[in-house]
Symmetry: C2
Subunit: 213 residues, 2 copies
Amino acid sequence: MAKPETKDQILNAAEDLFAEQGFAATSLRQLTAHAGVNLAAANYHFGSKDDLAKAVLQRRIEPINRERRQRLDNMSQPPTIEAIVRAFIEPALRNQQMDPGALPESRGAGLCRLLGRISVEQPLFLQEFMSEQFGELGKRFVAMLSEAAPGIAAETLWWRMHFTVGAMAHTLANAHVVGQVSLGACDANDHEGTLKQLTAFAIGGFSAAEVSR
Amino acid sequence: MAKPETKDQILNAAEDLFAEQGFAATSLRQLTAHAGVNLAAANYHFGSKDDLAKAVLQRRIEPINRERRQRLDNMSQPPTIEAIVRAFIEPALRNQQMDPGALPESRGAGLCRLLGRISVEQPLFLQEFMSEQFGELGKRFVAMLSEAAPGIAAETLWWRMHFTVGAMAHTLANAHVVGQVSLGACDANDHEGTLKQLTAFAIGGFSAAEVSR
DNA sequence: GTCTATAGTCAGATAGAC
DNA sequence: GTCTATCTGACTATAGAC
């Protein structure tokens, strides 16, 4: 193997461009040009555009969910709503530094936007992929939340996780818009501040009284 | 004008297909075939695919924001967080019945998904369009929320509105996935139930204590 | 206003030399 | 593994008959 970098360069470019423009709007030509590799390399290494998208996702979601599992494993008993919510949100929102060679830290921002996009754009395989990757972990989160908030039905907890995902995804995908529409009141570049705001909001949402039937 | 319906049929088809597949993934060919009109009619009536998307949005967002303004106008003093949150969410989530001829009520569900998609897919003109349509109204919402929750900074209120939009958009766009991932615990077809869940979550989020600095 | 026909462009994918 | 060259098909948009 002459250049082991080619595959990673394609993945990096795909991550950047899918995050910026979305999946359907990004062409393989643009993508491979951006990666500095030949057009044919994308299909050679990944088979199809769809499978390339899957590979991009898998590389990113896996470590996030691994960290979530670890934090659930190490959680003190009984767990608090706050600790569970943070275990859910923080791994996704913080720029996680992986192997620094392949993934310079400047890539962190792009990653955030990517995660926002894919939670939303829905060529069906993406949705199924998310379900596979998250189904079992979601059950663990709901189970722990049930312990921490005994008055709340599982159905309600599932809904609230769903809403939290939405708030997360929208924040990640459109963080740059918040500052604009709020006329500068919000600073989207302050990642820790954004994280605190989102965490507080989600904790409030999870702590709300059960809805009336 | 032989058929005054053509324009509306194109708008209806565009709404359905953009909601199902997204903007970039929907072709004018598919769209006009679905509408039962000629391919050229789309460009004749709307000039371009982009402008067609704008027309679809405008037809739907305008009445929602009109209802929001009315509800803010008629709000009792002092307003409660709950009333404001409901004035924000309900017009967007409820299937609003407009002129029944052009828009059969069966179209309501599709509309919801469309609104979810567009808040998220971001050919730039869409984002700008949303800012234009919502900037002034957003200011009114933040101002009222400041009255109802005097301890919360405007910045925090803007963030919380942003998160609420995200939860709303994700719920509308991906409502069908909730039932699946929760293994049937959540019923996405129960629109009033979903609305209650979302409202309770958002009220909880807005009622959370101010984040520490 | 509505249609057919087509121009002009760009897409994803592949064959085959190196 | 990498490249050039190309196939095949789909797209948006428009010109021009009716």
